[in-house]
Amino acid sequence: MTAAVALSLQGLHKAFDGNPILRGVDLELLAGERCALIGPNGAGKSSLFHLVSGRYRADAGRVTLHGVDITRQSPQQINRLGLARSFQITSLFPRLSAFENVRCALLWTLGYRYAFWRRIGRSHEASTRALAVLQQVGLAARADVAAGELSYAEQRALELAVTIAADASVILLDEPTAGMSRAESAAMVALIREVTVGKTLLMVEHDMQVVFDLADRIAVMDNGRVIACDTAPRIRANEDVQALYLDRRRHG
């Protein structure tokens, strides 16, 4: 039985002020798989994320989520359809507590919409679910601390919590272990593995240890294109990838 395609990128092009950043990206993610997106700086990985999540509009190409075309949709519409993303530079609500951050991420999926006629107290479903998520990422003890006052690692954990809180089926993580020590990275990897069970994961990463630990498949990007997408051993053996990395190393 073939797994359904969760996320499909077809021929994505994007240029900024005439500079082409994405020159035709093709990628297909099957439901439930974990895919790491690697490549040298400037390859267009973050731009691809921005495109898929709706922050930028593609010049050409298509993005489909569970078969639904989301190429022209706004970020909030895409999120409501089941795609959540994290940010490379931590993007939280600094004046709200950790608990509030996660709870806000839950409100839409739980159907609260723009309601202003009902209060959400500590006993509501949103609150109990938020606490559960905080428990999962290990921030339950810091639930009432303002997000802006958490340590860097705690903020990264909170960033993850906010991303996965609403139970999105497709999750995009942008360098989740950036700036972390070996130990912190290992903890984050374990956490990611735990919270993305059954979800489709696309992850930008530079840390190859993390990539080999987590990813089912690895997609390699260079110069605005995906030049290879395969399992780890095959990627290691892939000539184009070798040329890319060895070439770079030779030219410093």
Binding site: Q76, N79, R103, C104, L107, W108, Y112
Partner: protein, 402 residues
């Protein structure tokens, strides 16, 4: 829950007892004005403090709400409509909300400084339009009305000021509770999120523009209620109710009070009315004092008076307030008072000298008659100020309070 109940009970008690403590008619009038201004500032802080939306045109909603209310009152007086006076502020609120629906759609399409500039343009636009249609808005003279209509109900006719005060206090309490409760709703929480990081808010499923729009409509409702109360209180509504000057005052007072705290606008509204309505009876220089005070707050306590109160409360609670701190605080006050006294003396003399009705009229100050043309009072003022400043400068190094 009990923790929250106490302050609210206290607030209700203060509202109830205030006219008993200050029964003079001038005081009642002042209290009534404070009530409407506090509600207006609370409604404004829904945008500024909760939503991070800096609006220069909030008076549009309270002003148009006031016009709506006064027109309703006139229809009621003509006998064309039977409507309880007590509920007229609701009509003001609905008018404000309607304007929020129409105008807010234009303004909330953009955020940040662009939003602020649109509101500036809008308030000038609306106040100019108000003057262009004297049939609806009464031109320069405005529209007047009567708050005593028909027979008194349960002894209440709203003729006496004390009855109007309790009407205002009642609406203020109900609306304040509503504004407080809104913070705990999904919309209230998401509004805070949009304030902190609108992009992230989009990525968790909410349209920041829609959130701001709804917040503006709700805020405009409460502003309209405040406008309706003003219409009842003064029985006249004119173009200046809708103007940029009034919008600026709302911003000023809310900021002075402190926009990061729920009770900040309450403090700000009270202080603002004290300056503009109470102080203005005692001195010509009140606008100067207001401006100077405002600049002082901006430069030394940008979190507003509420932040100072909060700081003081924390220090007291933590028990860190020992004798040494008390001594320092007293010393600081002892140095600051002469500076203030000297400054006020100099300002009053300057105003008297420049704008006094009679060129030779002396200044009356707390029973003393001060000749503004003699050098001695000026020297005194200078001495007071320099002495105080010198003391402050010396004590600066020792870590003055706040």
């Amino acid at each position: 829950m009990k923790r929250l109940l106490l302050p609210w009970l206290g607030f209700a008690l203060v509202l109830l007892a205030a006219p008993l403590v200050f029964p003079q008619s001038a005081a009642l009038s002042l209290l009534s004005q404070m009530g409407t201004m506090v509600l207006l500032c609370l409604s404004y802080n829904m945008l500024l403090g909760e939503g991070g939306m800096l609006s220069f045109g909030h008076a549009v909603y309270s002003g148009l709400g006031a016009f709506g209310a006064i027109h309703l009152m006139n229809r009621m007086a003509e006998g064309a409509l039977a409507f309880p006076m007590t509920l007229v502020p609701l009509a003001g609120g609905l008018t404000g909300a309607l304007c929020g629906v129409l105008l807010g759609y234009l303004t909330t399409r953009r955020a940040g400084t662009t939003f602020a500039m649109i509101t500036l343009g809008l308030v000038e636009l609306v106040s100019a339009c108000v003057l262009m249609f004297p049939e609806v808005f009464g031109g320069e003279g405005g529209i007047s009305g009567n708050r005593v209509i028909g027979e008194p109900v349960l002894g209440i006719s709203y003729g006496p000021q004390i009855q109007v005060y309790y009407l205002i206090a009642g609406w203020l309490l109900v609306c304040a509770i509503a504004i407080w409760a809104l913070r705990a709703t999904p919309l209230g929480r998401i509004l805070n999120a949009v304030r902190d990081n609108p992009e992230r808010a989009a990525f968790i499923g909410y349209d920041p523009q829609r959130v701001r729009y709804l917040a503006l409509i709700l805020s405009a409702f409460f502003a309209g209620v405040s406008g309706g109360l003003s219409a009842i209180n003064f029985e006249i509504v004119s173009a200046e109710y809708v103007g940029a000057l009034r919008s600026g005052a709302i911003l000023l007072f809310t900021f002075i009070g402190g926009s990061a705290y729920f009770y900040g606008p309450i403090v700000g509204g009270v202080v603002g009315v004290l300056f503009s309505s109470w102080l203005s009876a005692y001195t010509q220089a009140w606008q100067f004092y207001l401006g100077a005070f405002f600049i002082l707050i901006v430069m030394t306590a940008p979190g507003g008076l509420a932040s100072l109160i909060d700081q003081g409360w924390r220090i007291l609670r933590s028990g860190a307030f020992d004798t040494r701190m008390a001594v320092r605080a007293i010393a600081w006050l002892a140095a600051a008072l002469p500076v203030l006294a000297g400054l006020v003396l100099a300002t009053e003399m300057a105003y008297q000298a420049s704008l006094g009705s009679l060129a030779e009229a002396p200044l009356r100050w707390w029973g003393w008659t001060v000749d503004v043309h003699a050098p001695l009072p000026w020297m005194t003022a200078l001495l007071l100020m320099s002495g105080g400043v010198a003391a402050l400068w010396c004590w600066r190094g020792q870590g003055g309070r706040s």
